[in-house]
């Protein structure tokens, strides 16, 4: 059977506020347990929540970035369930009147095509605390630092049809929230988590199949792998004539499998109702318009600008603008070199290669954009050739100093003195008389192939320092005799 996969995603992004959604406690990863809590976060009787202004502004920013209707009146609701890391017995969330309504994103796929993914809604809610299941006298430890941390939950329509498309969509959300500066995007620390709703249906069928939900997947790679493995699991069941049970599953990266978390018998009954402790949030048109007018440049706008201002290809512009940090690095380096194509090639080539090798984020690059630009200037002004530049870059990466320091210290300056190059070539021609004879006897096509040998010899003799742009014409002239 030919199956079509139907995927909808719920992405929880942690908003980068200083304080919590409903209290004045600090927000931050890695603090000592329970040192960032207040009576409100602990759910003490009588403690009342007060809504954080900045979380509201961030949510509206996001709404504009996905072309969404903004909820001019939004209402907080209680989602009731019992778990020890949720001391109030309910999570304050939004149900019928979310802050961000229907919107969409045009997602660029690897093959260069775009597909539109609808976004149903995005709502504000508070995070829960953390349970630690290590053995504390046979009990569970509760850390409530994360409790009441502001989250924006972004819910997509079931518009996604492949693992690759899902990852492209999540990367795009990641890039938007980091561009807007409303989330640090640190998936390893849980600042962005993804729930995957997935079902299969025979190709051509209109009705959706029964779906499962894979909870809390926290890396791009795991999202892709979890989807592949869940598609396989569901297809196996359906092809054997079985049926899918609607349930919540967990992805185990080590075994690369999903497994059941809760069965349908105790399916949650959240009994949502409007939170009586919080009044409706009412926005003015002026407030909403003002946020829209001051929205920072978004990835798609930056990509368009890179194409028009720097004459970069669509592909290069998209890669460079995919993260704000990379785009800034490119623009800062290019400010020094003033050669966008050269800078783009080096950022996407050598720099990305070394960053990947050492699994470093561009923010932690040991070579700054300024220093990187200075290196590229030395390629542009012919001080060094591209090949030597790679060695210099490696040395800069290893902390040996600036490009100019390294070029001086290692004597890498390119030989551009034509007299010196001629002398060098003469020596090589004398030493390889037989090859010179063969070359002179050959026809033009053959000569073109044979010249590589001589260029190689010259580069070897000059230890890579001869300027290839000069070597070639001189060599051709001298070989003619």
């Amino acid at each position: 059977m030919n199956w079509e996969v139907v995927i909808g995603l719920e992405i929880h992004t942690q908003l980068s506020t200083k304080s919590k959604l409903f209290s004045g406690a600090a927000v931050g990863f890695g603090a000592e347990p329970n040192t960032q809590t207040t009576l409100v976060d602990l759910g003490m009787p009588g403690a009342l929540p007060v809504f954080n202004k900045e979380a509201l502004r961030m949510a509206v920013m996001f709404g504009h970035a996905i072309n969404a209707e903004i909820g001019m009146t939004s209402v907080f609701a209680r989602k009731n369930y019992f778990y020890p890391d949720l001391p109030k017995g309910y999570q304050t969330s939004q149900m019928d009147h979310p802050i961000v309504g229907k919107g969409y994103l045009d997602v660029m796929l690897e093959d260069g095509t775009t597909s539109r993914v609808g976004i149903t809604r995005a709502h504000l809610e508070e995070d829960a605390g953390k349970s630690l299941h290590e053995d504390f006298q046979g009990m569970t430890g509760i850390d409530l630092n994360r409790s009441s941390t502001p989250l924006l939950e972004i819910v997509s329509e079931p518009d996604i049809r492949s693992a690759k498309e899902a990852v492209a969509y999540v990367k795009m959300i990641h890039s938007i929230v980091t561009y807007l500066g409303i989330c640090d995007g640190n998936m390893a620390e849980g600042s962005m988590r993804c729930d995957i709703n997935l079902s299969l249906r025979p190709k051509g069928q209109k009705e959706y199949g029964t779906r499962t939900e894979i909870k809390n997947v926290n890396s791009f790679r795991f999202i892709e792998k979890a989807i592949y493995t869940e598609i396989e699991r569901q297809a196996d069941i359906l092809e054997d004539g079985g049926r899918i049970i609607q349930e919540t599953r967990l992805y185990d990266p080590e075994k690369n499998e999903t497994r059941s978390m809760r069965s349908k018998e105790d399916a949650n009954d959240y009994r949502y109702f409007p939170c009586p402790d919080l009044l409706p949030v009412v926005l003015t048109q002026e407030y909403v318009d003002n946020i829209k007018a001051n929205l920072p440049e978004l990835p798609s706008q930056k990509a368009a600008r890179f194409q028009s201002d720097y004459a970069l290809s669509e592909y290069d512009a998209n890669v460079l603008s995919s993260s704000r940090a990379m785009a800034d690095f490119f623009e800062n380096a290019n400010g020094v070199v003033k050669d966008p194509k050269l800078t783009a090639n080096w950022v996407m080539g050598e720099l990305s290669k070394l960053l990947n090798q050492e699994q470093l984020d561009i923010n932690n690059s040991p070579v700054s954009a300024q220093a990187f630009g200075e290196l590229l200037v030395r390629i542009k002004d012919d001080t060094i050739n591209g090949k030597t530049a790679k060695d210099v870059f490696q040395a800069m990466w290893d902390g040996e100093g600036s490009a100019d320091d390294i070029i001086d210290a290692k004597g890498l300056k390119q030989v551009t003195d034509t007299g010196a190059i001629e002398t060098m070539i003469q020596t090589i021609l004398d030493a390889n008389a037989a090859q010179v004879e063969q070359y002179r006897a050959a026809d033009e096509d053959k000569q073109k192939k044979m010249i590589g040998f001589f260029v190689g010899q010259v580069m070897k003799a000059s230890q890579g320092k001869a300027n290839p742009g000069l070597v070639n014409p001189i060599l051709v002239k001298m070989l003619k005799g």
Binding site: T35, T37, T38, F51, N80, H133, G141, D143, R271, L279
Partner: protein, 95 residues
């Protein structure tokens, strides 16, 4: 409208309340009469009336995004029946 005893037990379970048989009988009766009242109210025509989320004619006040609270862990943990290593301890839960 009336509810049966199973409904009562389900609601009690959702609220994590332990009911005796006698309690369940009593709640079945009193909850049913609450629902009868609701049923009576449902006969009112509410076409075009927005559901009310709050009876106050007021809107939510906003708080500046500043950290105003300091660490009071010791005081908070002192309220807990059991604590260790800065954590509240609860009966073991496995998801």
């Amino acid at each position: 409208m009336s509810i049966d005893k199973q409904d009562v037990q389900k609601i009690a379970h959702l609220a994590r309340l332990a009911l005796t048989e006698a309690d369940a009988d009593q709640y079945q009766h009193s909850l049913s009469s609450v629902l009868s009242l609701v049923e009576q109210m449902q006969s009112v025509n509410t076409d075009g009336v927005e559901p009310l989320s709050n009876p106050l004619e007021m809107t939510q006040r906003l708080r500046e995004d500043t950290v105003t609270e300091e660490n009071r862990r010791d005081a908070f943990l002192a309220n807990a029946p059991q604590a260790e290593a800065g954590l509240f301890l609860v009966p073991k839960v496995i998801d």
